[in-house]
């Protein structure tokens, strides 16, 4: 089951570059929330703060509070534990090139020392079914490399890999931007199904995509969150002039 995310006064830096400034918002549980905004506005940095990937860069710094459910992730938690609860799908499909399809999905569990083979088989099957890839790969699970799949299949494999560790939140950083329209629509269908079980945060440059999959949408600009509201409100009747300019294509 997904949990809500509460963000209070979040600030983030890369070196001296203040990339996120005073972000406050509540991301609802078991819904999809889209983040839109021009390149470099801080959307990706923001999602990387939610699973503490931001700090893997040595010059990065964060202040403020993020609560996932009851857990204050910057107060009393280890990054590796957070990342198991908060799965992430990246912009470019990044399966482990030397691993089979099966091992890719099982990687998160295996690398954390999980070795119950029968349970692993079930988890791999369930994750691949949840990511709508099972029927396409079930005959080659251990024979083919994850890298041998098409781009769209690879991205669904990466989603399966994230789901296999049983997270509560799924972060997607432009998950369809490197894919063709057919693969994109598959990913969108998937987001629709997955949000009944997970809290989904999706960064996208594609405003139609945000409108299609998300209940809530946040608009980021220059490191600040300009507006956060119900998706239909953002796209039909935004309260901020800058949001309106952006979604009508006047800049960005």
């Amino acid at each position: 089951m997904g949990v809500g995310i509460e963000v209070i006064n979040l600030n983030a830096w890369y070196g001296s570059n203040h990339t996120l400034q005073d972000i406050n918002l509540n991301i609802p549980a078991n819904h999809a929330t889209a983040l839109i905004g021009p390149s470099g506005c801080g959307k990706s940095t923001f999602v990387r703060c939610i699973n503490r990937m931001h700090e893997t860069n040595p010059i990065a710094r964060v202040t403020g509070t993020i609560r996932i459910g009851e857990l204050d992730i910057y107060e009393n938690a280890k990054p590796v534990e957070i990342r198991r609860r908060v799965g992430m799908v990246f912009q470019r499909p990044n399966p482990f090139p030397t691993m089979s399809i099966y091992d890719n999905v099982a990687a998160g569990l295996k690398l954390n020392g999980y070795s119950n083979h029968r349970a692993l088989d079930e988890i791999v099957e369930k994750s691949l079914k949840n990511s709508a890839l099972w029927d396409e790969v079930k005959d080659d699970l251990k024979k083919k490399s994850g890298a041998s799949l098409s781009g769209g299949q690879q991205q669904r494999l990466c989603i399966a890999r994230a789901l296999a560790v049983d997270p509560e939140v799924l972060l997607m950083d432009e998950p369809a931007s490197a894919l063709d329209p057919v693969s994109t629509s598959k990913i969108e269908d998937l987001i629709f199904q997955l949000k009944s079980q997970y809290t989904i945060v999706i960064v996208t440059h594609n405003m139609q995509q945000a409108a299609r999959v998300a209940e809530k949408t946040g608009f980021f600009l220059n490191g600040r969150m300009v507006e956060f509201d119900a998706t239909h409100k953002i796209f039909t009747n935004p309260s901020d002039k800058r949001t309106e300019d952006y979604i009508t294509g006047r800049f960005g």
Binding site: V80, F90, N94, F96, P97, T98, R161
Partner: protein
Amino acid sequence: MNVETYRTRSIMRALTDRAVTALAILATALVVAPLVAIFIYLVYRGASSLNLAFFTQVPKPVGEPGGGMANAILGSGILLALASSIGVPIGIGGGIYLAEFGRGTKLANAVRFTADVLNGVPSIVMGVAIYALIVNPQKHYSAFSGGVALGIMMIPTVCRTTEEMLLMVPHAVREAALGLGVPNWRSVLSITVKTASPGIITGCMLAFARVAGETAPLIFTALGNQFWSTSLNDPIAALPLQIYVYAISPYDDWHRLAWAGALVLIILIVLAVSLVRFVTSRGVLKGAS
């Protein structure tokens, strides 16, 4: 652009294409030619002296015909096993440090610089250094000191290729592992190193093949031995040493044995490298890059 200039340019492009392809083929031939020439010449000079005795007998005393290099083949095997067990783990460990944990630190820069300098140290200097550090205090030549000399010579090559290969692993692959909640050390060992392993293995094989033919570092350390010996504490025979001794001797049959020894040395290196490649390439999946 009219049809005429289009045609001329098209012909020009085709000619350039041919010329560049021809140059590439020529360059390839020039790369392969020395190895083929050496090999053919070794077969011509050495093959006639190859027989069962060469692989089963130790050298005969001066004047007695026959004899072989069995002890030198075994000795080279022992020395290289010892050298690899020193050079490969230290080299790979150093490379992992340089690429993954020490990136940008002063220590890493110092280690990288040292490795590059070590790589340029003449092999005879390595022999003399090990003589001073191990042979002299122990008061005797030994297989152990020879293995150490060769092992240290392997370190810089293995270390720097490991580093280069790890740096080529895409950042996205590392992030994928970290994003799954895998601890950094585990991600480095199980994902990054594994992804880079074909290149790392190539680096190890290059280092192995290079020291397999080294003579100079062994002159002051392993010394050579006319008899069977497997003890790490005694002088031990090695193919390059034996070839050296036989080649500078005044006897014709020893010269022939030296040629045969050189031929066997090259064949054994090729076999060892192919074997490692074969073993490590099994289990590679369809479509893995």
